[in-house]
């Protein structure tokens, strides 16, 4: 049962990754691509980590996985903000 749930979570996570990457390629604009990127980062990695945590069934590993997810969340949110701000700055001129 746990294995089935973990498998589903991992597969849906990979689906979100692929959706985010396809969005990265097909969307027309930097800002819209940032939207696609954050879906892959948050949802894709989050579901993948949830699946891996269920699969591992070890508290220490689960905590480490949680820390990884939080770090990627914060880092990708900050990176998206910084990149968008830089692009805006370049558009409107110094």
């Amino acid at each position: 049962m746990i294995n089935v749930l973990s498998a589903i979570l991992i597969l849906v996570g990979v689906f979100f990754y692929l959706a985010g990457s396809i969005g990265l390629l097909r969307l027309p604009d930097l800002y819209s691509r940032l939207h696609a990127l954050t879906k892959a980062d948050n949802l894709g990695l989050g579901l993948l980590i949830a699946g891996m945590a269920l699969h591992s069934q070890d508290l220490l590993i689960m905590l480490k996985l949680l820390l990884i997810w939080l770090a990627v969340l914060a880092a990708s949110a900050t990176s998206a903000h910084l990149i968008a701000r830089q692009a805006r700055r370049q558009e409107t001129g110094p």
């Binding site: 692929l18 990265l24 691509r33 940032l34 990127l37 980062d41 894709g44 590993i61 990627v72 990176s79």
Partner: protein
């Protein structure tokens, strides 16, 4: 289960390739930087899967380091240097 994990690793590899396309294509440097973000996250995911597939617990630490340092590159890219020596 291992087959599923391997399939997921292949899916993440495909995602990484798509990100690589954006790095090579992306008209601006901002597009390239956000593709680097995606490659980094895909790398973290792949390391987590390899951790279980190859039974290497240390790869979890490698994924943690990649996750922590993910913001450093974007910050270095967008940092505005001061115009005078302080």
């Amino acid at each position: 289960m291992t087959d599923l994990l391997l399939l997921s690793a292949l899916g993440l590899m495909l995602s990484l390739f798509l990100g690589l396309l954006r790095v090579l294509l992306g008209p601006g440097a901002g597009d390239r930087m956000l593709a680097i973000q995606l490659i980094g996250t895909a790398g973290v995911g792949m390391l987590l899967l390899l951790n279980v597939l190859l039974n290497q617990p240390a790869l979890l630490d490698v994924a943690l380091i990649l996750a922590l340092l993910a913001a450093v590159a974007a910050a270095a890219f967008t940092g505005q240097q001061q115009t005078h020596h302080d």
